[in-house]
Protein backbone atom coordinates (compact mmCIF):
# COMPACT_ATOMS: atom_id res chain seq x y z
CA UNK A 1 0.00 0.00 0.00
CA UNK A 2 1.29 3.38 -0.96
CA UNK A 3 0.61 6.02 1.66
CA UNK A 4 0.61 8.86 -0.84
CA UNK A 5 -1.96 7.02 -2.89
CA UNK A 6 -4.99 9.19 -3.65
CA UNK A 7 -7.57 6.70 -2.34
CA UNK A 8 -5.58 6.23 0.82
CA UNK A 9 -5.40 9.97 1.41
CA UNK A 10 -9.13 10.37 0.89
CA UNK A 11 -9.86 7.62 3.40
CA UNK A 12 -7.33 8.88 5.93
CA UNK A 13 -8.62 12.44 5.78
CA UNK A 14 -12.20 11.23 5.91
CA UNK A 15 -11.66 9.04 8.96
CA UNK A 16 -9.66 11.81 10.67
CA UNK A 17 -12.50 14.30 10.21
CA UNK A 18 -15.02 11.72 11.31
CA UNK A 19 -12.97 10.91 14.42
CA UNK A 20 -12.65 14.61 15.28
CA UNK A 21 -16.34 15.42 15.03
CA UNK A 22 -17.30 12.26 16.89
CA UNK A 23 -14.83 13.09 19.65
CA UNK A 24 -16.19 16.62 20.05
CA UNK A 25 -19.81 15.56 20.23
CA UNK A 26 -19.03 12.41 22.17
CA UNK A 27 -17.77 14.61 25.02
CA UNK A 28 -21.31 15.83 25.51
CA UNK A 29 -22.74 12.32 25.43
CA UNK A 30 -20.15 11.15 27.97
CA UNK A 31 -20.73 14.06 30.34
CA UNK A 32 -24.48 13.61 30.21
CA UNK A 33 -23.95 9.93 30.94
CA UNK A 34 -25.89 9.08 27.81
CA UNK A 35 -23.58 6.31 26.77
CA UNK A 36 -26.36 4.30 25.18
CA UNK A 37 -27.56 7.23 23.08
CA UNK A 38 -24.99 6.67 20.33
CA UNK A 39 -25.93 3.02 20.10
CA UNK A 40 -29.60 3.82 19.93
CA UNK A 41 -29.15 6.42 17.20
CA UNK A 42 -26.94 4.30 15.00
CA UNK A 43 -29.22 1.29 15.28
CA UNK A 44 -32.23 3.48 14.65
CA UNK A 45 -30.64 4.67 11.42
CA UNK A 46 -30.51 1.22 9.84
CA UNK A 47 -34.14 0.90 8.66
CA UNK A 48 -33.82 4.36 7.09
CA UNK A 49 -31.04 3.08 4.85
CA UNK A 50 -33.08 0.10 3.78
CA UNK A 51 -36.23 2.12 3.17
CA UNK A 52 -34.34 4.75 1.18
CA UNK A 53 -32.97 1.99 -1.00
CA UNK A 54 -36.35 0.36 -1.46
CA UNK A 55 -37.96 3.64 -2.49
CA UNK A 56 -35.28 5.00 -4.79
CA UNK A 57 -33.32 1.94 -5.77
CA UNK A 58 -30.28 4.18 -5.48
CA UNK A 59 -26.96 3.10 -4.11
CA UNK A 60 -25.39 6.53 -3.77
CA UNK A 61 -24.39 7.01 -0.18
CA UNK A 62 -25.98 10.47 0.06
CA UNK A 63 -29.47 9.22 -0.64
CA UNK A 64 -29.10 6.31 1.75
CA UNK A 65 -27.62 8.52 4.45
CA UNK A 66 -30.54 10.89 4.13
CA UNK A 67 -32.78 7.93 4.91
CA UNK A 68 -30.53 7.06 7.84
CA UNK A 69 -30.68 10.64 9.10
CA UNK A 70 -34.46 10.69 9.02
CA UNK A 71 -34.96 7.41 10.80
CA UNK A 72 -32.15 8.26 13.23
CA UNK A 73 -33.87 11.51 14.14
CA UNK A 74 -37.26 9.84 14.40
CA UNK A 75 -35.84 7.17 16.70
CA UNK A 76 -33.98 9.67 18.85
CA UNK A 77 -36.85 12.02 19.42
CA UNK A 78 -39.18 9.14 19.95
CA UNK A 79 -36.90 8.04 22.77
CA UNK A 80 -36.98 11.53 24.26
CA UNK A 81 -40.73 11.48 24.07
CA UNK A 82 -40.95 8.13 25.79
CA UNK A 83 -38.65 9.30 28.56
CA UNK A 84 -40.46 12.55 29.31
CA UNK A 85 -43.99 11.21 28.88
CA UNK A 86 -43.81 7.86 30.61
CA UNK A 87 -40.91 8.33 33.04
CA UNK A 88 -39.46 5.03 31.91
CA UNK A 89 -35.82 4.89 32.85
CA UNK A 90 -33.81 6.30 29.98
CA UNK A 91 -31.80 3.07 29.61
CA UNK A 92 -35.01 1.16 29.15
CA UNK A 93 -36.32 3.54 26.52
CA UNK A 94 -33.00 3.55 24.69
CA UNK A 95 -32.76 -0.23 24.72
CA UNK A 96 -36.33 -0.57 23.54
CA UNK A 97 -35.97 1.74 20.55
CA UNK A 98 -32.54 0.37 19.73
CA UNK A 99 -33.72 -3.21 19.38
CA UNK A 100 -37.00 -2.27 17.72
CA UNK A 101 -35.36 -0.23 14.95
CA UNK A 102 -32.43 -2.58 14.52
CA UNK A 103 -34.70 -5.60 14.25
CA UNK A 104 -36.86 -3.83 11.70
CA UNK A 105 -33.78 -2.72 9.76
CA UNK A 106 -32.37 -6.25 9.66
CA UNK A 107 -35.72 -7.56 8.48
CA UNK A 108 -35.72 -5.09 5.59
CA UNK A 109 -32.10 -5.88 4.72
CA UNK A 110 -32.89 -9.59 4.54
CA UNK A 111 -35.90 -8.85 2.39
CA UNK A 112 -33.82 -6.72 0.03
CA UNK A 113 -31.14 -9.37 -0.30
CA UNK A 114 -33.71 -12.02 -1.21
CA UNK A 115 -34.91 -9.99 -4.17
CA UNK A 116 -33.54 -11.69 -7.28
CA UNK A 117 -32.77 -8.79 -9.55
CA UNK A 118 -32.18 -6.07 -7.06
CA UNK A 119 -28.93 -4.27 -7.20
CA UNK A 120 -28.57 -4.86 -3.52
CA UNK A 121 -24.96 -5.75 -3.06
CA UNK A 122 -23.22 -3.52 -0.58
CA UNK A 123 -26.02 -2.44 1.69
CA UNK A 124 -24.58 -4.63 4.42
CA UNK A 125 -21.51 -2.41 4.50
CA UNK A 126 -23.54 -0.17 6.77
CA UNK A 127 -23.49 -2.87 9.41
CA UNK A 128 -19.75 -2.93 9.93
CA UNK A 129 -18.67 -0.09 7.69
CA UNK A 130 -16.40 -0.09 4.70
CA UNK A 131 -14.05 2.83 4.66
CA UNK A 132 -12.67 1.79 1.29
CA UNK A 133 -15.88 2.99 -0.33
CA UNK A 134 -15.37 6.57 0.87
CA UNK A 135 -15.28 9.06 -1.98
CA UNK A 136 -13.94 12.57 -2.00
CA UNK A 137 -17.52 13.84 -2.10
CA UNK A 138 -18.23 11.98 1.15
CA UNK A 139 -15.23 13.63 2.73
CA UNK A 140 -16.41 17.06 1.63
CA UNK A 141 -19.76 16.38 3.23
CA UNK A 142 -18.05 15.33 6.46
CA UNK A 143 -15.92 18.46 6.41
CA UNK A 144 -18.94 20.70 5.91
CA UNK A 145 -20.87 19.08 8.75
CA UNK A 146 -17.83 19.24 11.02
CA UNK A 147 -17.34 22.91 10.25
CA UNK A 148 -20.99 23.61 10.96
CA UNK A 149 -20.79 21.65 14.18
CA UNK A 150 -17.72 23.59 15.28
CA UNK A 151 -19.45 26.89 14.51
CA UNK A 152 -22.55 25.98 16.52
CA UNK A 153 -20.40 24.66 19.35
CA UNK A 154 -18.52 27.96 19.60
CA UNK A 155 -21.69 30.01 19.26
CA UNK A 156 -23.62 28.19 21.99
CA UNK A 157 -20.66 27.14 24.11
CA UNK A 158 -21.95 28.83 27.25
CA UNK A 159 -25.42 27.37 26.83
CA UNK A 160 -24.08 23.86 26.17
CA UNK A 161 -21.85 24.00 29.21
CA UNK A 162 -24.48 25.15 31.67
CA UNK A 163 -27.05 22.70 30.34
CA UNK A 164 -24.61 19.83 30.75
CA UNK A 165 -23.79 20.82 34.31
CA UNK A 166 -27.18 21.81 35.69
CA UNK A 167 -30.23 21.58 33.44
CA UNK A 168 -32.84 22.64 36.03
CA UNK A 169 -30.88 25.75 36.96
CA UNK A 170 -30.44 26.59 33.28
CA UNK A 171 -34.21 26.52 32.90
CA UNK A 172 -34.74 28.92 35.80
CA UNK A 173 -32.41 31.42 34.10
CA UNK A 174 -34.78 31.56 31.16
CA UNK A 175 -32.90 29.47 28.62
CA UNK A 176 -34.93 27.17 26.43
CA UNK A 177 -33.27 23.95 27.51
CA UNK A 178 -35.28 21.90 25.04
CA UNK A 179 -33.81 23.87 22.16
CA UNK A 180 -30.24 23.44 23.42
CA UNK A 181 -30.84 19.76 23.97
CA UNK A 182 -32.35 19.25 20.51
CA UNK A 183 -29.39 21.11 18.99
CA UNK A 184 -26.80 18.87 20.66
CA UNK A 185 -28.75 15.72 19.95
CA UNK A 186 -29.30 16.61 16.31
CA UNK A 187 -25.59 17.09 15.78
CA UNK A 188 -24.87 13.78 17.44
CA UNK A 189 -27.34 12.11 15.08
CA UNK A 190 -25.70 13.85 12.13
CA UNK A 191 -22.20 12.73 13.15
CA UNK A 192 -23.34 9.17 13.66
CA UNK A 193 -25.07 9.01 10.30
CA UNK A 194 -21.92 10.33 8.64
CA UNK A 195 -19.92 7.59 10.29
CA UNK A 196 -22.16 4.70 9.29
CA UNK A 197 -20.51 4.17 5.92
CA UNK A 198 -17.06 4.10 7.49
CA UNK A 199 -17.49 2.46 10.86
CA UNK A 200 -20.93 0.88 10.64
CA UNK A 201 -24.01 0.66 12.81
CA UNK A 202 -22.58 -1.78 15.30
CA UNK A 203 -19.36 0.02 16.21
CA UNK A 204 -20.44 3.61 15.74
CA UNK A 205 -21.16 4.35 19.38
CA UNK A 206 -17.63 3.32 20.35
CA UNK A 207 -16.37 5.90 17.89
CA UNK A 208 -18.48 8.47 19.68
CA UNK A 209 -17.64 7.54 23.25
CA UNK A 210 -14.06 6.25 23.24
CA UNK A 211 -12.16 9.44 22.36
CA UNK A 212 -14.25 11.45 24.82
CA UNK A 213 -13.88 8.95 27.64
CA UNK A 214 -10.12 8.96 27.06
CA UNK A 215 -9.97 12.75 26.96
CA UNK A 216 -11.87 13.09 30.26
CA UNK A 217 -8.99 11.36 32.02
CA UNK A 218 -6.44 14.03 31.15
CA UNK A 219 -8.13 17.30 32.00
CA UNK A 220 -10.49 19.12 34.31
CA UNK A 221 -11.57 21.70 31.81
CA UNK A 222 -14.47 21.21 29.44
CA UNK A 223 -12.87 23.04 26.51
CA UNK A 224 -9.63 21.08 26.80
CA UNK A 225 -11.65 17.89 27.01
CA UNK A 226 -13.53 18.62 23.81
CA UNK A 227 -10.34 19.56 21.96
CA UNK A 228 -8.47 16.50 23.23
CA UNK A 229 -11.37 14.24 22.31
CA UNK A 230 -11.31 15.64 18.78
CA UNK A 231 -7.55 15.07 18.56
CA UNK A 232 -7.82 11.51 19.91
CA UNK A 233 -10.65 10.80 17.49
CA UNK A 234 -8.71 12.18 14.52
CA UNK A 235 -5.61 10.17 15.44
CA UNK A 236 -7.68 7.03 15.83
CA UNK A 237 -9.01 7.59 12.32
CA UNK A 238 -5.59 8.12 10.77
CA UNK A 239 -3.79 5.35 12.71
CA UNK A 240 -6.64 2.96 12.04
CA UNK A 241 -6.52 3.71 8.34
CA UNK A 242 -2.74 3.31 8.20
CA UNK A 243 -2.79 0.02 10.09
CA UNK A 244 -5.57 -1.46 8.01
CA UNK A 245 -3.95 -0.26 4.80
CA UNK A 246 -0.69 -1.95 5.64
CA UNK A 247 -2.42 -5.19 6.64
CA UNK A 248 -4.42 -5.94 3.55
CA UNK A 249 -7.18 -7.98 5.11
CA UNK A 250 -8.18 -5.82 8.05
CA UNK A 251 -11.27 -3.72 7.55
CA UNK A 252 -10.80 -0.13 8.55
CA UNK A 253 -13.77 0.55 10.83
CA UNK A 254 -13.00 -2.04 13.49
CA UNK A 255 -9.30 -1.11 13.46
CA UNK A 256 -10.17 2.54 14.05
CA UNK A 257 -12.35 1.56 16.96
CA UNK A 258 -9.60 -0.62 18.40
CA UNK A 259 -7.12 2.24 18.16
CA UNK A 260 -9.62 4.49 19.95
CA UNK A 261 -9.96 1.73 22.54
CA UNK A 262 -6.21 1.78 23.06
CA UNK A 263 -6.44 5.52 23.74
CA UNK A 264 -9.04 4.75 26.40
CA UNK A 265 -6.99 2.00 27.97
CA UNK A 266 -3.80 4.07 28.11
CA UNK A 267 -5.72 7.05 29.50
CA UNK A 268 -7.42 5.07 32.23
CA UNK A 269 -4.13 3.60 33.35
CA UNK A 270 -1.64 6.42 32.88
CA UNK A 271 -3.48 9.70 33.41
CA UNK A 272 -1.67 11.56 36.22
CA UNK A 273 -4.70 12.71 38.18
CA UNK A 274 -7.34 10.07 37.48
CA UNK A 275 -5.38 7.10 36.14
CA UNK A 276 -5.25 3.80 37.98
CA UNK A 277 -1.46 3.65 37.98
CA UNK A 278 -0.86 6.98 39.67
CA UNK A 279 -3.75 6.43 42.02
CA UNK A 280 -2.08 3.21 43.12
CA UNK A 281 1.26 4.95 43.48
CA UNK A 282 -0.29 7.76 45.50
CA UNK A 283 -2.10 5.23 47.63
CA UNK A 284 1.12 3.37 48.39
CA UNK A 285 2.98 6.57 49.09
CA UNK A 286 0.24 7.75 51.44
CA UNK A 287 0.33 4.46 53.26
CA UNK A 288 4.09 4.67 53.65
CA UNK A 289 3.85 8.25 54.90
CA UNK A 290 1.18 7.22 57.33
CA UNK A 291 3.36 4.45 58.74
CA UNK A 292 6.21 6.90 59.07
CA UNK A 293 4.09 9.43 60.91
CA UNK A 294 2.63 6.80 63.17
CA UNK A 295 6.11 5.83 64.27
CA UNK A 296 7.12 9.45 64.65
CA UNK A 297 4.13 10.27 66.78
CA UNK A 298 4.80 7.23 68.96
CA UNK A 299 8.34 8.51 69.45
CA UNK A 300 6.96 11.94 70.26
CA UNK A 301 4.85 10.30 72.91
CA UNK A 302 7.93 8.79 74.53
CA UNK A 303 10.07 11.90 74.12
CA UNK A 304 7.44 14.05 75.78
CA UNK A 305 7.89 12.16 79.03
CA UNK A 306 11.40 13.50 79.21
CA UNK A 307 12.41 17.08 79.81
CA UNK A 308 14.98 17.15 77.05
CA UNK A 309 13.12 16.24 73.88
CA UNK A 310 16.31 15.10 72.22
CA UNK A 311 17.18 12.73 75.03
CA UNK A 312 18.19 9.38 73.50
CA UNK A 313 15.82 6.44 73.98
CA UNK A 314 16.39 2.79 73.25
CA UNK A 315 15.08 1.38 70.00
CA UNK A 316 13.83 -1.54 72.06
CA UNK A 317 11.23 0.80 73.52
CA UNK A 318 9.55 0.85 70.13
CA UNK A 319 9.09 -2.90 70.22
CA UNK A 320 5.69 -2.80 71.81
CA UNK A 321 4.66 -0.67 68.85
CA UNK A 322 4.15 -2.83 65.77
CA UNK A 323 4.22 -0.21 63.04
CA UNK A 324 7.95 0.33 62.70
CA UNK A 325 10.63 -1.37 60.67
CA UNK A 326 14.31 -0.77 60.26
CA UNK A 327 13.42 1.01 57.03
CA UNK A 328 11.05 3.42 58.75
CA UNK A 329 13.79 4.44 61.14
CA UNK A 330 16.17 4.94 58.26
CA UNK A 331 13.69 7.10 56.41
CA UNK A 332 12.94 9.18 59.49
CA UNK A 333 16.65 9.75 59.93
CA UNK A 334 17.00 10.75 56.28
CA UNK A 335 14.26 13.31 56.77
CA UNK A 336 16.20 14.67 59.74
CA UNK A 337 13.37 13.93 62.16
CA UNK A 338 15.49 11.65 64.35
CA UNK A 339 19.10 10.73 64.88
CA UNK A 340 20.22 7.20 65.57
CA UNK A 341 23.30 6.29 67.47
CA UNK A 342 23.90 2.67 68.16
CA UNK A 343 20.80 1.18 69.73
CA UNK A 344 19.34 4.53 70.67
CA UNK A 345 17.27 7.09 68.85
CA UNK A 346 16.51 10.67 69.71
CA UNK A 347 14.11 13.18 68.22
CA UNK A 348 15.53 16.26 66.54
CA UNK A 349 13.77 19.59 67.14
CA UNK A 350 12.38 19.32 63.59
CA UNK A 351 11.06 15.88 64.32
CA UNK A 352 9.47 17.05 67.55
CA UNK A 353 7.83 19.97 65.80
CA UNK A 354 6.55 17.79 62.96
CA UNK A 355 5.10 15.32 65.43
CA UNK A 356 3.32 18.01 67.47
CA UNK A 357 1.87 19.42 64.26
CA UNK A 358 0.57 15.98 63.43
CA UNK A 359 -1.29 15.99 66.72
CA UNK A 360 -2.74 19.42 66.09
CA UNK A 361 -3.86 18.45 62.62
CA UNK A 362 -5.63 15.38 63.93
CA UNK A 363 -7.25 17.43 66.57
CA UNK A 364 -8.47 20.00 64.08
CA UNK A 365 -9.97 17.34 61.83
CA UNK A 366 -12.14 16.00 64.57
Amino acid sequence: MNFTDYTFLVIAIGTAILGAVCGMLGSFAVLRKQSLLGDAISHAALPGIAIAFLITGAKESNVLLLGALISGLVGTFWIRGIITKTHLKSDTALGLILSLFFGFGMLLLTFIQKQPNANQAGLDKYLFGQAATLLIADVYLMAIVTGLCLFVLLLFWKEFKILLFDADYTKTLGFNTKFIDVLITSFIVLAIVLGLQTVGVVLMSAMLLAPAAAARQWTNSLSTMVILAAVFGAFSGVFGTVISASQNNLSTGPVIVIVAGVFVLVSFVFSPSRGLLFKQIRFMKNRRDLELYKTLSFMHHIAETHEDISHPHSIKLLNNFQGFTRKTLQELEEKNYITISGLNWSLTPEGFEKASNLYNQNFKDE
Binding site: K33, F165, Y169, F175, R216, L222
Partner: protein, 245 residues
Protein backbone atom coordinates in the same frame (compact mmCIF):
# COMPACT_ATOMS: atom_id res chain seq x y z
CA UNK B 1 -47.04 41.77 58.81
CA UNK B 2 -48.11 44.35 56.29
CA UNK B 3 -45.45 43.62 53.72
CA UNK B 4 -46.57 42.99 50.14
CA UNK B 5 -46.93 39.38 48.98
CA UNK B 6 -43.77 38.29 47.17
CA UNK B 7 -44.85 34.80 46.17
CA UNK B 8 -48.40 33.60 45.73
CA UNK B 9 -49.35 30.00 45.00
CA UNK B 10 -52.96 29.17 44.08
CA UNK B 11 -54.53 25.69 44.06
CA UNK B 12 -51.26 24.13 42.98
CA UNK B 13 -51.43 20.40 42.22
CA UNK B 14 -48.41 18.54 40.90
CA UNK B 15 -48.01 14.87 39.99
CA UNK B 16 -45.35 12.55 38.68
CA UNK B 17 -46.83 9.62 36.77
CA UNK B 18 -50.34 10.52 37.87
CA UNK B 19 -49.38 10.17 41.51
CA UNK B 20 -50.12 13.52 43.15
CA UNK B 21 -47.14 14.82 45.05
CA UNK B 22 -48.55 18.22 45.90
CA UNK B 23 -52.24 18.58 46.49
CA UNK B 24 -54.11 21.84 46.15
CA UNK B 25 -51.53 24.11 47.72
CA UNK B 26 -52.40 27.70 48.54
CA UNK B 27 -49.55 29.77 49.85
CA UNK B 28 -48.70 33.41 50.31
CA UNK B 29 -45.19 34.39 51.24
CA UNK B 30 -44.73 38.00 52.34
CA UNK B 31 -41.76 40.02 51.17
CA UNK B 32 -38.75 40.16 53.44
CA UNK B 33 -39.20 36.92 55.37
CA UNK B 34 -36.67 34.19 55.91
CA UNK B 35 -38.89 31.15 55.55
CA UNK B 36 -38.29 27.48 56.21
CA UNK B 37 -40.23 24.76 54.40
CA UNK B 38 -40.33 21.72 56.64
CA UNK B 39 -41.78 18.28 56.13
CA UNK B 40 -40.70 14.64 56.00
CA UNK B 41 -38.74 13.12 53.10
CA UNK B 42 -40.89 12.86 50.01
CA UNK B 43 -43.30 15.51 51.30
CA UNK B 44 -42.91 17.45 48.06
CA UNK B 45 -40.67 20.27 49.30
CA UNK B 46 -38.34 20.17 46.31
CA UNK B 47 -41.30 19.69 44.01
CA UNK B 48 -42.94 22.81 45.41
CA UNK B 49 -39.87 24.92 44.72
CA UNK B 50 -39.40 23.46 41.25
CA UNK B 51 -43.02 24.15 40.41
CA UNK B 52 -42.77 27.74 41.55
CA UNK B 53 -39.65 28.12 39.40
CA UNK B 54 -41.32 26.66 36.33
CA UNK B 55 -39.00 23.64 36.19
CA UNK B 56 -42.01 21.36 36.62
CA UNK B 57 -45.39 21.84 35.04
CA UNK B 58 -48.28 21.58 37.47
CA UNK B 59 -51.49 19.73 36.65
CA UNK B 60 -53.48 22.57 38.05
CA UNK B 61 -53.04 25.89 39.78
CA UNK B 62 -50.83 28.90 39.27
CA UNK B 63 -47.91 30.75 40.76
CA UNK B 64 -47.15 34.42 40.73
CA UNK B 65 -44.17 36.48 41.77
CA UNK B 66 -45.17 40.00 42.79
CA UNK B 67 -48.43 39.50 40.94
CA UNK B 68 -46.98 38.34 37.63
CA UNK B 69 -46.14 34.89 36.28
CA UNK B 70 -42.65 33.59 36.95
CA UNK B 71 -41.66 33.87 33.29
CA UNK B 72 -41.95 37.64 33.48
CA UNK B 73 -40.15 37.93 36.82
CA UNK B 74 -37.13 35.73 36.26
CA UNK B 75 -34.66 38.51 36.99
CA UNK B 76 -36.06 38.76 40.51
CA UNK B 77 -35.50 35.14 41.42
CA UNK B 78 -32.43 33.01 42.18
CA UNK B 79 -32.31 29.26 42.82
CA UNK B 80 -29.94 27.08 44.81
CA UNK B 81 -30.72 23.47 43.84
CA UNK B 82 -30.10 20.49 46.06
CA UNK B 83 -26.37 19.84 46.02
CA UNK B 84 -26.84 16.23 44.98
CA UNK B 85 -28.71 17.21 41.83
CA UNK B 86 -25.55 17.79 39.79
CA UNK B 87 -22.47 15.74 38.98
CA UNK B 88 -19.61 17.35 40.90
CA UNK B 89 -17.14 15.46 38.76
CA UNK B 90 -18.02 17.77 35.89
CA UNK B 91 -14.84 19.26 34.40
CA UNK B 92 -15.02 22.84 35.60
CA UNK B 93 -13.75 25.20 38.31
CA UNK B 94 -15.39 26.97 41.25
CA UNK B 95 -15.14 30.36 39.55
CA UNK B 96 -16.70 28.97 36.39
CA UNK B 97 -19.70 27.59 38.25
CA UNK B 98 -20.28 30.87 40.06
CA UNK B 99 -19.99 32.75 36.76
CA UNK B 100 -22.97 30.71 35.53
CA UNK B 101 -25.05 32.93 37.81
CA UNK B 102 -24.51 35.75 35.31
CA UNK B 103 -25.69 33.78 32.28
CA UNK B 104 -29.34 34.68 32.76
CA UNK B 105 -28.65 38.40 32.57
CA UNK B 106 -26.30 37.86 29.62
CA UNK B 107 -28.90 36.01 27.59
CA UNK B 108 -28.19 33.85 24.57
CA UNK B 109 -24.77 33.61 22.92
CA UNK B 110 -23.07 36.54 24.69
CA UNK B 111 -20.04 35.39 26.66
CA UNK B 112 -19.20 36.49 30.20
CA UNK B 113 -16.60 39.26 30.22
CA UNK B 114 -14.66 41.25 32.81
CA UNK B 115 -17.79 42.59 34.47
CA UNK B 116 -19.25 39.13 34.98
CA UNK B 117 -15.95 37.77 36.22
CA UNK B 118 -15.70 40.56 38.74
CA UNK B 119 -19.22 39.89 40.01
CA UNK B 120 -18.41 36.19 40.36
CA UNK B 121 -15.22 36.93 42.28
CA UNK B 122 -17.10 39.20 44.65
CA UNK B 123 -19.66 36.49 45.32
CA UNK B 124 -16.87 33.98 45.96
CA UNK B 125 -15.37 36.44 48.41
CA UNK B 126 -18.71 36.83 50.18
CA UNK B 127 -18.98 33.09 50.83
CA UNK B 128 -15.33 32.84 51.81
CA UNK B 129 -14.32 30.81 48.80
CA UNK B 130 -12.06 33.24 46.97
CA UNK B 131 -8.91 31.19 47.67
CA UNK B 132 -10.55 28.23 45.93
CA UNK B 133 -11.64 30.00 42.76
CA UNK B 134 -9.45 27.92 40.45
CA UNK B 135 -10.16 24.64 42.19
CA UNK B 136 -11.73 21.80 40.21
CA UNK B 137 -15.17 21.39 41.78
CA UNK B 138 -14.75 17.69 42.59
CA UNK B 139 -11.83 18.68 44.84
CA UNK B 140 -14.07 20.75 47.11
CA UNK B 141 -15.62 19.50 50.32
CA UNK B 142 -19.40 19.19 50.62
CA UNK B 143 -19.61 22.45 52.54
CA UNK B 144 -17.45 24.24 50.00
CA UNK B 145 -19.59 22.96 47.14
CA UNK B 146 -22.65 24.28 48.92
CA UNK B 147 -20.99 27.69 49.29
CA UNK B 148 -20.25 27.69 45.57
CA UNK B 149 -23.91 27.06 44.83
CA UNK B 150 -24.87 29.88 47.17
CA UNK B 151 -22.38 32.21 45.51
CA UNK B 152 -23.81 31.35 42.10
CA UNK B 153 -27.23 32.49 43.32
CA UNK B 154 -25.82 35.62 44.97
CA UNK B 155 -24.33 36.69 41.64
CA UNK B 156 -27.84 36.87 40.24
CA UNK B 157 -28.52 39.73 42.62
CA UNK B 158 -32.15 38.71 42.97
CA UNK B 159 -34.96 39.78 45.31
CA UNK B 160 -36.21 36.27 46.03
CA UNK B 161 -34.02 33.27 46.81
CA UNK B 162 -35.10 29.63 46.78
CA UNK B 163 -32.71 27.18 48.41
CA UNK B 164 -33.13 23.44 48.55
CA UNK B 165 -31.48 22.00 51.67
CA UNK B 166 -28.48 24.33 51.75
CA UNK B 167 -27.39 22.89 55.10
CA UNK B 168 -27.37 19.28 54.03
CA UNK B 169 -24.03 17.63 54.68
CA UNK B 170 -22.17 20.80 55.56
CA UNK B 171 -19.88 21.36 58.53
CA UNK B 172 -20.85 23.62 61.43
CA UNK B 173 -18.65 26.50 60.23
CA UNK B 174 -20.29 26.50 56.82
CA UNK B 175 -23.75 26.31 58.36
CA UNK B 176 -23.07 29.43 60.40
CA UNK B 177 -21.51 31.20 57.42
CA UNK B 178 -24.52 30.39 55.26
CA UNK B 179 -27.13 31.39 57.83
CA UNK B 180 -25.33 34.69 58.36
CA UNK B 181 -25.52 35.39 54.65
CA UNK B 182 -29.21 34.49 54.63
CA UNK B 183 -29.88 36.85 57.52
CA UNK B 184 -27.99 39.58 55.68
CA UNK B 185 -30.21 39.02 52.66
CA UNK B 186 -33.28 39.37 54.84
CA UNK B 187 -31.87 42.54 56.33
CA UNK B 188 -31.54 43.89 52.79
CA UNK B 189 -35.25 43.29 52.32
CA UNK B 190 -34.95 40.12 50.24
CA UNK B 191 -37.26 37.15 50.57
CA UNK B 192 -35.55 33.83 51.26
CA UNK B 193 -37.26 30.43 51.08
CA UNK B 194 -35.27 27.50 52.42
CA UNK B 195 -36.06 23.78 52.51
CA UNK B 196 -34.85 22.85 55.95
CA UNK B 197 -34.45 19.60 57.81
CA UNK B 198 -33.17 20.38 61.26
CA UNK B 199 -36.29 21.24 63.26
CA UNK B 200 -34.27 22.26 66.31
CA UNK B 201 -32.80 25.27 64.51
CA UNK B 202 -36.00 26.55 62.91
CA UNK B 203 -36.84 29.13 65.62
CA UNK B 204 -33.24 30.30 65.75
CA UNK B 205 -32.72 30.74 62.00
CA UNK B 206 -36.13 31.58 60.55
CA UNK B 207 -38.99 33.99 61.20
CA UNK B 208 -41.49 32.33 58.86
CA UNK B 209 -42.33 28.67 58.30
CA UNK B 210 -44.45 26.45 56.06
CA UNK B 211 -45.36 22.92 57.09
CA UNK B 212 -45.78 20.69 54.07
CA UNK B 213 -46.72 17.08 53.55
CA UNK B 214 -48.34 16.71 50.13
CA UNK B 215 -50.87 19.20 51.44
CA UNK B 216 -50.02 22.46 53.10
CA UNK B 217 -50.44 21.96 56.82
CA UNK B 218 -49.76 25.49 58.01
CA UNK B 219 -47.89 28.63 57.08
CA UNK B 220 -47.11 31.72 59.09
CA UNK B 221 -44.80 33.33 61.61
CA UNK B 222 -42.56 30.89 63.48
CA UNK B 223 -43.57 32.37 66.84
CA UNK B 224 -47.25 31.72 66.09
CA UNK B 225 -47.34 28.33 64.42
CA UNK B 226 -44.13 26.45 65.13
CA UNK B 227 -45.59 24.13 67.71
CA UNK B 228 -45.97 20.44 68.53
CA UNK B 229 -49.45 20.37 67.10
CA UNK B 230 -48.36 21.34 63.58
CA UNK B 231 -45.26 19.17 63.80
CA UNK B 232 -47.40 16.19 64.69
CA UNK B 233 -49.79 16.90 61.82
CA UNK B 234 -46.87 17.16 59.41
CA UNK B 235 -44.71 14.28 60.52
CA UNK B 236 -47.56 11.98 61.47
CA UNK B 237 -46.06 10.87 64.74
CA UNK B 238 -46.54 12.35 68.12
CA UNK B 239 -43.94 15.02 67.98
CA UNK B 240 -42.37 16.70 70.95
CA UNK B 241 -39.61 19.10 70.16
CA UNK B 242 -39.06 21.12 73.20
CA UNK B 243 -38.49 24.46 71.61
CA UNK B 244 -37.01 26.99 73.96
CA UNK B 245 -38.20 30.38 73.06
Amino acid sequence: MSNPIAIKVDDLTVAYNYKPVLWDIDLEIPEGVLMAIVGPNGAGKSTLIKSILGILKPIAGSVSIYGKPYKKQRDLVAYVPQKGSVDWDFPTTALDVVTMGTYGALGWIKRPGQKEKKAALEALEKVGMLPFKGRQISQLSGGQQQRIFLARALVQNASIYFMDEPFQGVDATTEIAIINILKELRKAGKTVVVVHHDLQTVPEYFDWVTFLNVKKIATGAVKDIFNDDNLTKTYGINFKVSVNK
